[in-house]
């Protein structure tokens, strides 16, 4: 069975299961672009994506490209028991990044040592709330790309 059929990478990491609203995020990620849904009426960004704007109720939206810079808002280090693919890498970090372009737009992700390095590759000493980070993209399975994060000043 292919990894896509299993819903995991060959190493047992979960693949994103996009819904209709979220699909464009992943399509842009596959092209190496970090984009967030924005309202074409009132111009405000929103995340996660949804059918209409919670501020002006417009259904007109676009996907606006972000600079890819942000700061660590919080982080955790999961330890077992975990799903097997993750237990193999534990303890790894999971971070929440607040985007520099839009306060309040926060993305969950992983801080890694370089774009293709595994989860848990970053030195835990670099994990600090407020640390500036920048996005990188990693193809984790054929056709499936996720954003990863690198310290701006390692």
């Amino acid at each position: 069975m292919s990894s896509m059929m299993k819903g995991t990478t060959d190493n047992g990491l979960l693949l994103p299961v996009p819904d209709e609203d979220g699909q464009p995020f992943w399509d842009f990620a596959a092209r190496g672009e970090l984009r967030v849904q924005g309202c074409t009426g009132c111009r405000r960004l929103r995340f996660p994506p949804r059918p209409c704007c919670p501020h002006c109720r417009s259904f007109a939206a676009e996907w606006r490209r972000m600079s890819g810079r942000g700061r660590i808002w919080s982080y955790v280090l999961p330890h077992p028991p975990l799903l097997p693919g993750y237990a193999d890498l534990a303890p790894y970090n999971v971070i929440v990044v607040e985007l520099a372009d839009a306060r309040g737009i926060r993305l969950v992700g992983n801080l890694v040592a370089h774009p293709d390095a595994p989860l848990g590759s970053a030195d835990p000493a670099g994990l600090r709330i407020g640390a500036p980070v920048e996005v990188a993209f990693t193809e984790i399975a054929p056709g499936v790309t996720v954003p990863r994060w690198l310290l701006e000043r390692p």
Partner: protein
């Protein structure tokens, strides 16, 4: 003139099964045992039950319960969502139904074999009721991870420490050590063992996490006038509320403007608005504690202290018996049993009957809450 639920109904019966890591009986059997025990406690025949309320992750539905216990015509049944956020809402829905004449005897229950059964987060096929695409691929898999993320931010913003979380774990454990029904009855907790325990998701360690329990509980609710004829002193539902704040996202509430002010704040505003008393008048509280940080957050949300002061509130034994606000006096989810918070309701009733194993002398008001961090609910009970 707006109708009110204030003191119009009362909890008159409580029942439970043993709590254990593994029970032999099925969830359905445990549910029936707890429901029948609660009805026996109330002195009400199962044939008189005409209303049921449950909450999500319940595998036994009202059809199964009704036919097993021999209920008659059932005219009200509701199910609340959001797991541990729905516990108190079951009582709230029944109170509303009884007060508006839709039924006369209501039963709420929870039966779960989380001790020996599967862990929901292990399911890699089904999307959990959270926006999984934004979190799970990165290894943010379990409720412990999701809440740990908020806990770290809370520590950063307000100077909370692991010692504060230990204060919470210790208060619950100390009460469990007084409660023979608690899973941790004979297992004291020390600061040394807490600090040396293994991590589950840093900054949360083993003792910041609730137990894994097989067990079931139930309670019976009737109108206030009928309650006075039941076996025990009635425990009145004084106020009840659910809470879903603006831009809330469930367990992974990282996308709201203010992720550290969650559903408790919303439920609290409605709860106090409808009540004759305020936080300073609460004698004892049963606060949902799947994870220790939920208690400081809830203390803030329900107005026992100011924003960011919940951790400091726990200092000096404030949460212990004899402290400023004794909490989770049967041991809570951390040390009695984790049954999605229903044990907190039954313990609230025992406190106001005067029959708790860790009785707060003369307690006449009790706050019971469901989970902070998910769409939630809460009850103010009084004797």
């Amino acid at each position: 003139m707006t109708a009110t639920l204030k003191d119009t109904t009362a909890i008159v019966g409580i029942g439970q099964t043993p709590f254990s890591r593994q029970l032999a009986a099925s969830e359905k059997t445990l549910a029936c045992q707890a429901v029948l025990a609660a009805l026996d406690d109330a002195g009400i025949s199962p044939s008189h039950v005409d209303a049921f309320a449950s909450y999500s992750m319940e595998t036994t539905d009202e059809v199964e319960i009704a036919k097993a216990i021999g209920a008659g015509d059932v005219t009200f049944f509701s199910r609340v969502g959001y797991g541990g956020g729905g516990s108190c809402a079951t009582v709230a829905h029944l109170a509303a139904a009884l007060t508006t004449g839709q039924a006369t005897v209501g039963v709420a229950w929870r039966s779960r074999k989380r001790g020996s059964g599967p862990r929901p987060w292990r399911d890699t096929r089904a999307q959990l009721p959270v926006p999984g695409q934004w979190t799970r691929p990165y290894g943010l898999l379990r409720p412990a991870d999701e809440i740990a993320m908020l806990a770290r931010r809370y520590m950063h913003e307000y100077g909370a420490t692991r010692d504060h979380f230990f204060n919470v774990a210790l208060a619950c454990r100390n009460r469990a050590n007084q409660n023979p029904a608690a899973m941790m009855y004979e297992r004291p907790l020390t600061r040394e063992s807490y600090m040396a325990s293994r991590w589950i998701s840093e900054p949360l360690c083993l003792f910041d996490n609730c137990l894994e329990t097989d067990g079931a509980l139930a309670c019976v609710i009737v109108a206030a006038d009928r309650a006075r004829d039941c076996r025990h002193r009635p425990v009145y539902v004084h106020s009840a509320a659910q809470g879903l704040p603006p831009q809330h996202h469930g367990m992974v509430n990282y996308w709201a403007d203010d992720p550290l002010a969650g559903p408790s704040w919303t439920a609290a505003r409605q709860l106090w608005k409808a009540a004759d008393f305020g936080p300073a008048d609460v004698d004892v509280a049963q606060i949902y504690d799947a994870f220790t940080p939920l208690i400081p957050l809830s203390l803030e949300g329900y107005g026992f202290c100011g924003r960011g002061e919940g951790a400091a509130f726990s200092e000096g034994g404030a949460l212990e018996l004899g402290g400023r606000l004794p909490v989770n006096t049967a041991g809570g989810g951390l040390s009695e049993a984790y049954v999605h918070g229903f044990n907190l309701i039954n313990e609230g009733v025992r406190q106001l009957r005067g029959t708790s194993t860790a009785q707060v002398p003369g307690a006449s008001t009790c706050l019971v809450t469901a989970g902070e961090g998910v769409p939630t609910s809460a009850l103010l009970l009084r004797s």
